[in-house]
């Protein structure tokens, strides 16, 4: 700490005595208090100093507790940079990305508390068509475990990475390598910490022109675990994987077609389970998802759980304009790289999908989405409208998946218990097993069970701007969603004690199941076939000063634990006419039924100055991606709480 202080003091003095010294800073503060103990207080101060070719940055954090992460009252990040004549040097917290991130993509995302930056040194020579880059340092990457707000475990990397990049007219070629020695703490601390070595080598190629763009990246990864013991060959622990990503875009007038392909095959596992294995891609690898990033809350809640270790996919997106009308059509299809089959319960065998495209077999966990949107302006640009339609279908996991032959071993012996001629064995009957009957038969069994989710969503938004600077807006999102267990086949399950698939009548006319059992329940714990989600928001703003948005979010069913919400807020009470609430008769022991599936909130934002913004949100929020008052962010759920946020730049 003392050394770090001295460094900063030295930096300040250096900058103060330089000719062209500049300093700027920004503050971002957040405070939240809610009845369900979701509280936080976090403050971030960023200070930038620069003079001629030198740039320094420091981020100080005071948070106790933060929204996500550990409490801190210290310098969180710092970096000093020097760049001149094609040379760039950086020391401190470094964030770099190469290609599309299949090998290296570093960022600090405080919303999700993911930070894979490196504290170390970075050197880059950039002259003419050639760029040489080298990064060396230590990364301490904390990952979320069971707790939604406090990180559970970390991966420590001593890493070095090198890149050679060459531009030749419209073509660019890059060669990359990353080596890391990792101390890999396992998720949930179930397994012991592993000491690993990773060696990644990659290449990327891009072509950019007026009407066509192409990008291709490939990375190869070899990982090994440090082993103890004389009889273990370290090469036995080698795990090898690769990743491929391609992007091809065509532009014709005001129309653009974007196509993407991915195939990430680092470590495979059946169903939705991802083994915390050293064969996994490492945290520096943050690659394209090849699906749409939605900015509507209900579609945002249906985000596919991407598997960067084992997933392939394609995506097409058409963007275009016709006059003042904008059109968008998108389609994506993803799946695992293998289909999986049970040979017995919990004994999975994989088979690679034959071609390069994603699969549709439920055991490959396919995910298909499409989205259409039209937006534009009318009434002399006063009215803005947007109407969309999104469809998603996903197999979330396979519980079992068997299709094959089962042997019914019904052989039995006929015992001969007659005494033989030997007196010695007089008291012991000899079992003559020479006679037996074997009725072993084979029969076809199909027993497949998986979880499937289907949804369609219609988001729409209208804003009307008036002459006096006021804008009124209304938005409505409607979603129907099914989430069920699917059981298909002539067997209803597996009997572990008999080690056999269960069938009613294997030899006769057996029943063939094709069942859907909804996993959705309402507040009374009754099964519900369809979840209906709706969000309505009304807003009024006066540019450039303030904006007020009231949001009403409601549902009829849940696919997980049913939240208990005794802390309904005054907005909810007002909306539903519970005037007793305001007379001090808030019933928190047995709150009214209408409040339970609803979340009402109001947010007021005020621009104190153009560079200072204060926002106050009061109410309850279900959570998910939330766009309000011109800002989009992911918000965790909380009930009857207040959130204050302030940001300023100086």
């Amino acid at each position: 700490m003392k050394n770090r202080n001295s460094i900063f003091l030295f930096l300040i003095l250096t900058f103060l005595y330089s000719d062209d010294f500049n300093v700027s800073s920004s503050i971002k503060s957040g405070y939240c208090s809610s009845y369900d103990f979701y509280d936080f207080s976090e403050n971030l101060l960023d200070v930038n100093l620069f003079s001629n070719n030198v740039f320094a940055w420091m981020q100080y954090e005071y948070s106790n507790p933060p929204e996500i992460g550990f409490p801190l009252n210290d310098v969180r990040k710092f970096r000093i940079e020097y760049s001149a004549a094609g040379l760039s040097l950086k020391a401190g917290d470094i964030y770099e990305f190469w290609g599309r991130g299949l090998l290296l993509n570093q960022f600090d995302d405080q919303v999700t508390n993911f930070d894979n930056g490196t504290r170390g040194l970075f050197f880059e020579y950039n002259k003419g068509p050639l760029i040489l880059s080298h990064l060396n340092g230590h990364s301490d990457i904390w990952l979320m475990g069971q707790d939604a707000r406090i990180p559970g475990y970390n991966n420590k990397h001593n890493m070095m990475a090198t890149r050679i990049h060459y531009d030749w007219n419209k073509v660019s070629l890059g060669l990359t390598q990353l080596k890391s020695n990792e101390i890999h703490e396992k998720a949930l601390n179930i397994n012991p910490t592993a000491i690993l070595n990773h060696n990644l080598r990659g290449t990327y190629l891009s072509f950019i022109s007026d009407n066509v763009d192409m990008f291709f990246e490939y990375v190869d990864k070899i990982s090994a675990e440090k082993v103890d013991g004389f009889d273990i060959n370290p090469n036995d622990t080698l795990k090898r994987g690769h990743g491929v990503y391609g992007n091809f875009n065509i532009y014709l007038g005001s129309w653009a077609l974007s196509t993407e392909y991915k195939r990430y095959a680092f470590d495979a596992s059946h169903t939705d389970f991802t083994a915390d294995d050293y064969g996994n891609r490492i945290n520096f690898q943050q690659m394209p998802t090849v699906a749409k990033e939605h900015n509507d809350a209900l579609l945002g809640r249906l985000v596919h759980n991407y598997n960067y270790n084992d997933e392939r996919g394609i995506q097409f997106e058409i963007n275009g304009s016709m006059g003042s009308l904008s059109l968008l059509a998108q389609y994506a299809h993803l799946s695992r790289n293998h289909t999986w089959q049970d040979t017995a319960r919990n004994n999975w065998v994989s088979k690679p999908i034959d071609n390069y495209l994603p699969g549709s077999d439920p055991s490959s966990l396919p995910y298909v989405e499409n989205y259409f949107e039209t937006s534009g302006y009318s009434f002399n640009d006063r009215l803005y409208f947007k109407i969309g339609l999104g469809n998603n279908k996903e197999v979330l996991k396979t519980n079992w998946f068997f299709n094959g032959e089962q042997r019914d071993v019904s052989s039995y012996y006929v015992y001969d218990t007659t005494y033989n001629e030997y007196d010695y064995y007089e008291d012991f009957p000899i079992i003559d097993s020479s006679e037996f009957f074997d009725t072993t038969q084979y029969y076809q069994v199909e027993s497949k069970m998986w979880q499937e989710s289907k949804a369609f969503t219609i988001p729409m938004e209208f804003n009307y701007s008036m002459n006096n600077g006021y804008t009124i807006g209304v938005g409505f999102q409607y979603q129907e969603r099914n989430f069920y267990d699917r059981l298909k086949g002539n067997s209803s399950g597996y009997n572990t004690s008999d080690s056999a698939w269960v069938m009613e009548n294997p030899y006769g006319d057996t029943e063939y199941f094709d069942l859907k059992t909804s996993k959705l329940r309402n507040r009374d714990y009754d099964d519900v076939d369809m979840q209906i989600n709706r969000i309505l928001y009304l807003s009024i703003s006066h540019a450039p000063k303030w904006s007020l948005t009231i949001t009403h979010d409601w549902t009829n069913a849940y696919d997980g634990p049913i939240p208990n919400d005794p802390y309904y807020n005054p907005l909810e009470a007002l909306l539903y006419g519970d005037f007793q609430y305001f007379l001090g008769k808030r019933n928190s022991v047995a709150p009214p039924a209408w409040v339970q599936n609803r979340w009402v909130s109001a947010e007021f934002s005020y621009n104190i100055t153009p560079s200072q913004r204060l926002s106050v949100m009061y109410g309850s929020i279900q959570g998910g991606l939330f766009c309000s008052n011109g800002i989009c962010r992911v918000i965790p759920p909380f009930n009857d709480g207040i959130k204050l946020s302030y940001s300023a730049s100086f």
Partner: protein, 172 residues
């Protein structure tokens, strides 16, 4: 001692009332590399941080494109910096081309330019003069905010006695 250092930083921050942006390398959507100060040679620059998933950002861009074309004779440039990560970078150019936007577009996939210019929220709009001094900074977008941006541009030209074509707006 350390707290004193922080106070010195803060003090310096406050006394430096007018902020200057640092020069830094940026990568444009056409694949070329340049530096931020290259855009300041002919006149003021509107720097706008946006992303393909940010709906308010897209509403603002329509107006920024009009400013870019209308005031181009006066040296004004709009530089829209996409903060899309490598995960969605492939769609940035498609979106821009489908809208026929004529302003300059740069990519900042790991948000390092965004952090150096202290853009805390999306969208953030910064107007910078030829010397790199920040004239105006605005966070978020409400319909009508474009009028405030327009006023800053016209005030800048008026202060320097530069003639410009009057700009017709629907809600000014």
């Amino acid at each position: 001692m350390f707290k004193k250092t922080i106070y010195i930083y803060l003090f310096l921050s406050v006394i430096n009332a007018q902020e200057k942006i640092p020069d830094m390398p940026i990568k444009l959507l056409d694949g070329s590399n340049t530096r931020l100060y290259e855009f300041l040679k002919d006149g003021p620059v509107i720097i706008d941080f946006w992303a393909t998933w940010c709906a308010p950002c897209k509403k603002l861009m329509k107006h920024l494109n009009k400013f870019h074309t209308h005031f181009s004779d006066n040296g004004l440039k709009v530089l829209a910096i996409s903060t899309d990560t490598p995960r969605s970078m492939g769609k940035v150019k498609s979106y821009i081309r489908s809208k026929n936007y004529e302003f300059f577009v740069a990519v900042d996939p790991n948000q390092q330019v965004m952090k150096k210019l202290k853009a805390e929220l999306m969208p953030t709009t910064i107007i910078v003069d030829r010397e790199g001094m920040v004239l105006y900074r605005h966070q978020g977008y409400y319909p009508g905010d474009e009028n405030k941006i327009l006023k800053q541009i016209t005030d800048y030209y008026n202060a320097l006695d530069i003639d410009y074509k009057p700009y017709q707006t629907t809600t000014l």
